[in-house]
Symmetry: C2
Subunit: 503 residues, 2 copies
């Protein structure tokens, strides 16, 4: 007997809450694996994560879930119930396409691959990772066939992170960005002789770096009673099923200020989004960011638009200088602002400037497409990586640790994710511009170390909604326009025009 919609909905919510709890538990196990787990725990943890993922998948794909989804019908548009059913249906439909055994195998193989990636990167030895990557890529290609696609298997993987995104539209976007920045990058390259970044290198005590990062995160509005910061090989933000426990991680370099500082601002941006989601969405599919692109817009906004602005540093630079008087004593605000915005082609994506960053992403996008369609083999990947680096950025990495091994993503089975970084980067300016139009006082507040108006606008227009609206819809509601790259190119032009004396 099919239950009535008003009976089906609470039952459906209960099942989805169980799925959410299992996924949150996986999150805790994964956080622990990347922060505190001793080496001896690897094998057991792989089994535990595989089991949790299998059970979550079985629960989501079960006949009972399908029956309740059918019975729930089509709730009133624009209601939370409508969003819940729509999102649950999408997750269910996607999940039924993947066999449980494949899901478990993906989980197990990636759990084993991650420590292999850490060893491979530490020794700059691609051969340690390669067999894992072979296996992981095979499983991803198998997943793409199960998930289905119209034009290209890559889109089946991409759609998991950015619903509705298309390979062709991304190619257009990357072309627009390449063309729009080519002139600026040429100008910047003419300044290659200047060592603008010098002030960021020196002796920076890790504990003091950590303290300063926490001061900034607190000023942005990060709530430490609903989060914490730990150390991990790769910085990340993770939430455990709601807005009540949203954690960030970072890593420190005692000789270089930028990596930990900007990673902290970046992950704080992600965390502010998660902490701002309506808590009534906890344990439902509406919890979490609208898409990874929208998520990345928040991390980029706080890291770059705020964290590399003159307004921000007008307030914070005197404080930073007081913490590191030896290293920064002879650097004034203008020199420091130039340093954190120094642009030049470089090897490492997470350390790249705003001007060249999207070329790093374009490279990964092109390689991923080739790996997934099979026109590039795992064995040939390091060579292909180095060739693309030469083509896009005019340089060859000094060893695979600073090349193909620099990111954890592929070892985690994450293909189709990288483009969301550029989607987010582009959206960050579009959203910030809209906030600025509504509240022209924002830059003045930033100069006083205040961010409440900016955060308030983001909370109201982006954060609180969680996944309720589709990404394009959310952006249009917030900014009055569909997603577009124009504002980002204008922002780059204004900023780097001034910094590098371009017309």
């Amino acid at each position: 007997m099919t239950p009535a919609p008003e009976e089906a909905l609470p039952l459906l919510k209960e099942r989805l809450a169980t799925v959410a709890d299992l996924d949150a538990a996986s999150g805790v196990l994964s956080w622990d694996r990347q922060t505190y787990m001793p080496g001896g725990g690897v094998a057991g943890r792989a089994e535990q994560l595989a089991t949790l993922n299998r059970l979550s998948h079985e629960m989501l794909t079960s006949g009972e879930t399908a029956r309740l989804l059918d019975a729930a019908g089509e709730p009133e548009p624009e209601t939370d119930a409508e969003a819940l059913v729509r999102l649950a249906r999408r997750e269910h439909d996607r999940a039924v396409k993947l066999p449980s055994s494949l899901v478990a195998e993906i989980s197990r193989s990636t759990t084993l691959a991650e420590p292999a990636w850490q060893r491979a990167r530490a020794d700059s030895d691609y051969a340690v990772l390669a067999p894992h990557l072979e296996k992981i890529l095979d499983l991803q290609r198998e997943a793409a066939e199960h998930l289905g696609y119209e034009d290209h298997p890559y889109e089946a993987l991409l759609d998991r992170y950015e619903p509705g995104a298309r390979k062709a539209r991304l190619e257009v976007m990357f072309d627009e960005l390449k063309q729009g920045t080519a002139g600026m990058i040429r100008t910047v390259a003419n300044h290659a002789g200047e060592d603008r970044e010098a002030p960021l290198h020196g002796t920076f005590d890790e504990r003091k770096q950590e303290e300063f990062g926490k001061v900034v995160a607190s000023a942005f509005g990060y709530d430490w009673d609903r989060g914490r910061q730990d150390r991990a090989a790769h910085p990340f933000c993770i939430n455990f099923g709601g807005s009540g426990d949203v954690r960030i991680t970072t890593r420190f370099d005692p000789g270089w200020l930028s990596p930990a500082l900007f990673a902290t601002l970046h992950e704080t941006g992600h965390a502010l989004y998660e902490q701002g989601i309506d808590p009534t969405y906890s344990r439902t599919p509406i919890s979490g960011g609208a898409s990874l692109g929208v998520h990345e817009s928040q991390s980029r906004l706080w890291e770059n638009i705020v964290g590399r602005s003159r307004s921000f540093w007008t307030h914070f630079y005197p404080r930073l200088r007081k913490i590191f008087p030896d290293a920064l004593g002879s650097t004034d605000l203008e020199a420091f602002h130039r340093a954190v915005n120094a642009a030049r082609p470089s090897e490492i994506r997470v350390e790249a400037d705003e001007l060249t960053y999207n070329l790093h992403v374009a490279l990964r996008f092109e390689l991923e497409v080739a790996l997934v369609e099979g026109s590039l083999s795992v064995a040939d990947l390091p060579e292909a990586w180095n060739a693309k680096m030469e083509e896009h950025l005019g340089l060859t990495p000094k060893g695979d640790a600073r090349g193909v091994l620099q990111d954890v993503h592929w070892a985690m089975g994450v293909f189709g994710y990288f483009p969301t970084y550029t989607i987010g980067t582009v959206l960050s300016v579009q959203l910030f511009d809209a906030a600025l139009e509504a509240h022209p006082e924002i830059p003045g507040e930033m100069e006083r170390g205040e961010f409440g108006t900016l955060l308030g606008w983001l909370r109201e227009n982006v954060h609180r909604h969680g996944k309720k609206y589709e990404p394009d819809d959310l952006v249009e509601r917030a900014t009055g326009r569909p997603p577009e790259a124009g504002p980002y190119l204008r922002y780059l032009g204004d900023k780097f025009g001034e910094l590098y004396g371009m017309p």
Copy 2:
């Protein structure tokens, strides 16, 4: 169709492995809750743990598990298969008696009660904990009725931790201990004027305490690649489904050396047991200690028999003194040995000496029995606690924080657990004596800071077997005798006779 035993057994093992993975995941979530989780995570974590416990319970009690248990038949005695089926059947039978909803409610209520206990203890305000305790006790009494018992509902709860233990036998054991120690305690009380413990109070930097504890744990044989130590409000040892990740926690008092030091040795003892279990038992019901009493025998053995012996301190005291030259400069080995063995009636169980410790346990045992049978109400518990303290130890705690609120157990829904502390204390000497009989060189090795022979004997005779043998059987195999209190009373007589000049 009923499968043949040789087909049923692998299927049964697979299901039990899923149960073990869910329980291991609960373990990680519980460890995190007690070490690093921010306050905002409490509500979500309660839901997650309730869901994991419910799923584990459902899997263990399902018709499919019952069918496979029936089909598995009676494997060859003394084989791992026999132990697996026997233990799985016991867990299944016990679990089918508890409704899933009750299991989930117990999990949820205890997850909420624990932070309440922390607040209650911090403010010495029993009223903060009382409503939680009411709820938890009701659920435990309900559980006892479901589990069933012969003579007394308390035995239904006790049996979960110490299979086969009986209330009447415990009463006899506590009486034997009370009578056997009464004279010694009177003699010791005559020394009340001496401040033997003075050397343990002073200024002891927390980080240095932590380092010294780690040095000792390493010397005992704790494997840091399969474990770690963190801080928690209540010290504990936890393993995540096998011998590959066994963690300990402790807490530090910068003005008092004993609590962290002996808690570390104690939890290390538990951890050595878990790390020593045959790794092929991971993800099976044979993993883990034979009983909580046997587990406690290992913690007590390393904490007390080793960690308070003259042999141990002959090696380690000069090292400790070098670390804390200011605090310990004027204390020689004999004075320090007297200090760590100072005996006197006191308020806090975890800080009690070997002579009076079992009276603390007897008090809890008597109160638990009364609470469970309903002859004592939660409202009257603080008064009853204080009355028992007066009766057994001749003192009244200075506030509930140092009285009824000192232990987390009841807030965790753990009733029937305390007696295992005394069972373990008694067994620790019986097992140590057997090791000594086989290897008379052990005290000499301890004087050189070497523990390999002792650990080797425990590994061979106790640790590696996990739960394979029933507790009494294991003790008899290891020592040639059934469990008995005699050796423990002789040990106390020898030790305190010498320390306090008794005949």
